[in-house]
């Protein structure tokens, strides 16, 4: 029998401030009892903007941009300490209200959701190019109604409004005249749940490059009921979500147990996979509109913003053992039994210590416990305390009772084996599962060895039983196919490739990108260029300029880890380290450098190139790279300055020339034999070398061997952009993708920073320097400035409060500014004598 493994995880949030007022039960109950209550206005005032929601640290953790441990270090209240606002995360995405309403329309199969004409048009424009939305979705969105038609339905009370920014932009109609199970409010709630589930599942499939057709079974684990008066919880959310996500080979069913639903769903999925009934099982859930603003009354009383303004959703893929992904143990499932009892002690024993005992483990053998991961900033003001912390204390106290811990160790146990809470209070959403994505990563990269996921639920709320419920399971590192030694596992990295610009046409670039995807299963290749050019996932861009800004955006948001492109201007101080195959020996060699400029002065640049080359070599896993200096003008000066640096304690391993003298200065022969790991040269000579060594067999028209001109590296440069030339052929482009992926895995910018610091090339910030104006996108080049003056020219513009960046264009140094600043900047530079 196979071991079930966690193959992928995805987490999405949907900002829904208007729904707090229209569909959160705290507010709807208040409206029923007291229609003129001041609470409506108070809540309205205390709602947050989408920007604030995105910058809210717990939300950034939910979508995977920040580790839970990082959250613990941010002082509370977190809503007063915003972080970098990325709506797109490594594990998910935060969607604004209008896009979520659009998804409710897209998932509606019975023409119950009506959108107003203008709103439909606007939201379609916004979603154009979003990778989770397709042409079929846009066709649905194009069917809209007039405001009058919508108002008429609302006046007749046969529909409930869909509001956005306080305006009615659509409605949800009732699905039956008398059946309360199909009333407009119930359909609203169920369609919102379905929409969230679909977005989470689509994200899971897209972000992990999974073919939807490979999903065999879907288990939906929310807390809603879908049905009619004759079968009130008939179902089936699961299959309806699969239908809208392209899972044509899947069936599915819904599993319910209040907040414990997701944990039950995963236990069921592991059983189905372990038995061989299904190979790939998705566990998914959308969010609950009812719980929006649940504690808003208390939040307002305590002057806290209404933090329950987002619905959550998640999707997890449990699959057959691949020898890599973390395993869910099936021999140690914890369960709260009918006879367990409801005291916290009995519950914790059943869910935590009993299964660990069955596996021959104690609580200290588990690196992290994931319990009810509710955000304490929401629960503490509402009098429910810090839920995760209380759970960890209970586990620790039980450990004390059983002799696994000393009483004095309770606090340190909570700190080391616990996590801060970050999930929205959406019942099933925070219940154990929010950590599974981080757990998978940690178990893959070796920072974790074993975690335990615990889900609990309050069955008494349904008034059928007073019982409590819960299940738990253990996730562990995959021991690999051999069964004993842990296989070093490689993290999946995403590399973008821009398609336009090649002298050999777009087809050659596409061939290269697709070749890379075929060769490397641990790399996800994303094309950036015109739609329909390739079967690879594509982010649309129709000009080279558009490609460049799209690439920069994707890198910034972390949607891609690295990118391969051509004809790209790096800021001054950044240069590229090429990688070639020496034709005489087949040895790989780095050429430092091949484009851009690490410094304005030639020997200073070569000195720096050596250090940057060493950093890249280390990123490729060469612990002690052999350095040689190409015999060009300035070689001996560079060698001297590097030997001086060596005396100051910076270790350099020198290569020996293949020529009789065996010196570190390399001749043309050494370039052919690859006598060193890092060949130091000026960037223009390096550029010629790469072209010659890559096009050796083709007569020069097309570069067919090697890895391209390499990643841009330099002080403070955070992106991984690998350069190929307009003459690079498919094999070189594929090589560049591999090279870029290796650099992303090695966290190149950190390596570079470390190496530059060791080599004393990073200066402390100069006090009293010119203040940089706020950064903005720059795409206009001002040429004709002397290379030695390029930094002064940039600073001169800063003094005029014009944001500018120094860069290296294809024809020489450039200062880059925003289009609106171009004329003024040019005039200023003429005035100051930088250009004529």
């Amino acid at each position: 029998m196979t071991n079930p493994v966690v193959k992928a995880a995805s987490y999405c949030l949907f900002h829904a401030p208007d729904m707090v007022l229209t569909h959160g039960t705290t507010l709807t109950m208040e409206r029923a009892k007291n229609p003129d209550s001041p609470l409506f206005d108070e809540v309205h005032q205390a709602l947050r903007s989408f920007e604030n929601v995105v910058a809210y640290p717990p939300n950034q953790v939910y979508i995977g941009n920040m580790q839970p441990d990082e959250l613990a270090k941010i002082p509370q209240p977190w809503y007063e300490n915003p972080v970098e606002p990325n709506r797109k995360g490594k594990l998910g995405e935060i969607f604004p209200m209008d896009e979520f309403i659009a998804m409710m329309k897209i998932v509606d199969a019975f023409e119950l959701v009506l959108l107003e004409d203008n709103f439909g048009k606007q939201v379609t424009e916004r979603l154009n190019g979003h990778p989770l939305f397709n042409e079929a979705d846009f066709a649905i969105l194009s069917k809209t109604q007039s405001q009058e038609e919508i108002n008429a339905l609302l006046e007749k009370n046969t529909a409930v409004p869909l509001e956005f920014e306080g305006k009615v932009v659509g409605c949800v109609k009732r699905a039956h005249e008398y059946d309360i199970n199909l009333s407009a409010d119930v359909m609203f709630e169920n369609l919102a749940g379905k929409a969230g589930g679909v977005l989470a599942l689509r994200h899971l499939l897209w972000n992990n490059n999974i073919d939807p057709a490979t999903v065999d079974y879907i288990i939906e684990t929310s807390e809603e009921a879908a049905g009619d008066m004759n079968q009130r919880g008939g179902g089936n959310f699961a299959k309806s979500i699969g239908e809208k996500s392209g899972c044509i080979n899947a069936t599915g069913s819904d599993t319910r147990s209040f907040c414990a639903g997701p944990a039950h769903g995963i236990v069921n999925a592991t059983g189905l996979v372990k038995s061989g009934i299904y190979k790939n099982v998705v566990v998914v859930a959308g969010g609950a509109t009812a719980k929006l603003g649940m504690n808003s009354r208390d939040h307002i009383k305590k002057e806290v913003p209404v933090l329950e303004d987002c619905m959550g959703a998640f999707a997890l893929l449990i699959g057959a053992d691949d020898g890599v992904n973390p395993i869910i143990r099936t021999d140690a499932i914890g369960r709260h039994k009918v006879g367990t009892g409801s005291s916290p002690q009995a519950v914790t024993t059943a869910l935590v210590t009993a299964p660990l005992e069955a596996a021959g483990l104690t609580i200290t053998d588990v690196d992290k416990f994931s319990v009810e991961m509710q955000n304490p900033e929401i629960t503490v003001p509402a009098g429910a305390g810090n839920v995760p912390e209380a759970n960890y204390k209970m586990i620790a106290a039980l450990g004390v009772k059983q002799g696994a811990l000393e009483r004095t160790e309770i606090n340190s146990f909570v700190e080391n084996h616990g996590l801060p809470g970050w999930a929205p209070t959406q019942g099933h959403i925070p219940s154990g599962v929010p950590f599974m994505g981080f757990a998978r990563q940690g178990l893959l990269d070796g920072t974790l060895n074993r975690v335990m996921i615990v889900g609990k639920g309050s069955l008494f709320l349904a008034r059928l039983t007073n019982l409590f419920d819960g299940v738990s399971f253990i996730m562990e590192r995959n021991p690999g196919k051999g069964g004993d030694a842990v296989v070093p596992t490689e993290k999946m990295v995403t590399v973008g490739v821009t398609l336009l610009g090649s002298e050999h046409g777009i087809e050659e670039v596409v061939r290269g990108a697709e070749l890379a995807q075929r060769k490397h299963k641990n790399i996800r290749v994303v094309a950036i260029g015109p739609k329909g050019s390739t079967s690879l996932p594509t982010v649309e861009a129709n000009t080279e300029d558009e490609q460049r800004s799209t690439m920069e955006n994707l890198l910034k948001t972390g949607e891609i880890d690295a990118c391969v492109t051509m004809h790209y201007n790096f800021p001054l101080g950044v240069t590229t380290i090429g990688r070639v195959i020496a034709p005489a020996t087949g040895r790989e060699m780095l050429i430092a450098s091949t484009t851009g400029m690490s410094a304005g002065n030639r020997t200073e640049a070569m000195h720096k190139n050596a250090i940057l080359g060493i950093a890249v070599a280390k990123g490729l896993g060469i612990a002690d790279p052999q350095v040689g200096i190409l015999n060009v003008d300035g070689a001996l000066t560079t060698e001297r300055s590097l030997r001086d640096l060596e005396k100051e304690g910076y270790a350099i391993s020198w290569a020996a020339s293949g020529r009789a003298d065996g010196q570190a200065v390399m001749r043309g022969n050494d370039a052919l034999t690859g006598s060193c790991d890092v060949l130091v040269t000026d960037s223009l000579t390096g550029n010629i070398l790469v072209k010659m060594l890559s096009a050796l067999n083709t007569g020069g028209s097309i570069e067919s061997v090697g890895y391209g001109y390499g990643p841009g590296v330099g002080e403070g440069y955070k992106q991984i952009v690998n350069i190929v030339s307009r003459a690079s052929g498919a094999p070189v482009i594929a090589g560049a993708v591999e090279f870029a992926a290796d650099m992303a895995k090695a966290k190149l910018p950190e390596l570079v920073q470390e190496e530059l610091t060791k080599a004393k090339l990073i200066k402390a910030q100069e006090a009293g320097g010119v203040q940089k104006p706020p950064a903005k996108p720059v795409d206009q080049e001002i040429t004709g400035i002397d290379v030695l003056q390029i930094e002064d020219a940039t600073e001169a513009l800063w003094k005029e409060n014009i944001y500018a960046e120094a860069g290296m264009g294809c024809t020489g140094p450039v200062v880059m500014v925003a289009p609106e600043d171009f004329e003024v900047a040019r005039k200023k530079l003429v005035e100051l004598g930088f250009i004529s």
């Binding site: 916290p344 209380a390 620790a396 106290a397």
Partner: protein, 104 residues
């Protein structure tokens, strides 16, 4: 306090008389325990439930105050773990406030 529970307490008092009812709380947190104690003595402070404005003045204790009258093995099985976890002093202090205010 949960509205359902308020209803149940109110009905019980009407049925058996307030002199025959003692409330024992099991709340895990001082403020929430205090609110519950207040609800069954001077009335629902949140003005949300059926005990709003109803002064039942029932004797109210937290289970953590009653260790002496609970059999040792039951205490060990059911409560000893939470005793380690909870802020016992704070909870007792909060509940006692309402009992004392109420002259109990």
């Amino acid at each position: 306090m949960d509205l359902e529970n308020q209803t149940r307490i109110k009905e019980l008092v009407e049925k058996v008389g307030r002199e025959n009812v003692v409330v024992i709380l099991g709340g895990a947190e001082a403020e929430a325990s205090g609110l519950a104690a207040e609800t069954v003595t001077t009335g629902d402070p949140t003005f949300a439930g059926p005990l709003t404005g109803v002064q039942l003045e029932l004797p109210v204790y937290h289970i953590l105050e009653l260790k002496d009258i609970v059999p040792e093995d039951v205490w060990e099985d059911q409560i000893s773990m939470m005793e380690m976890v909870l802020d016992v002093d704070d909870i007792i202090k909060e509940v006692t406030t309402y009992r004392t205010q109420n002259g109990g």
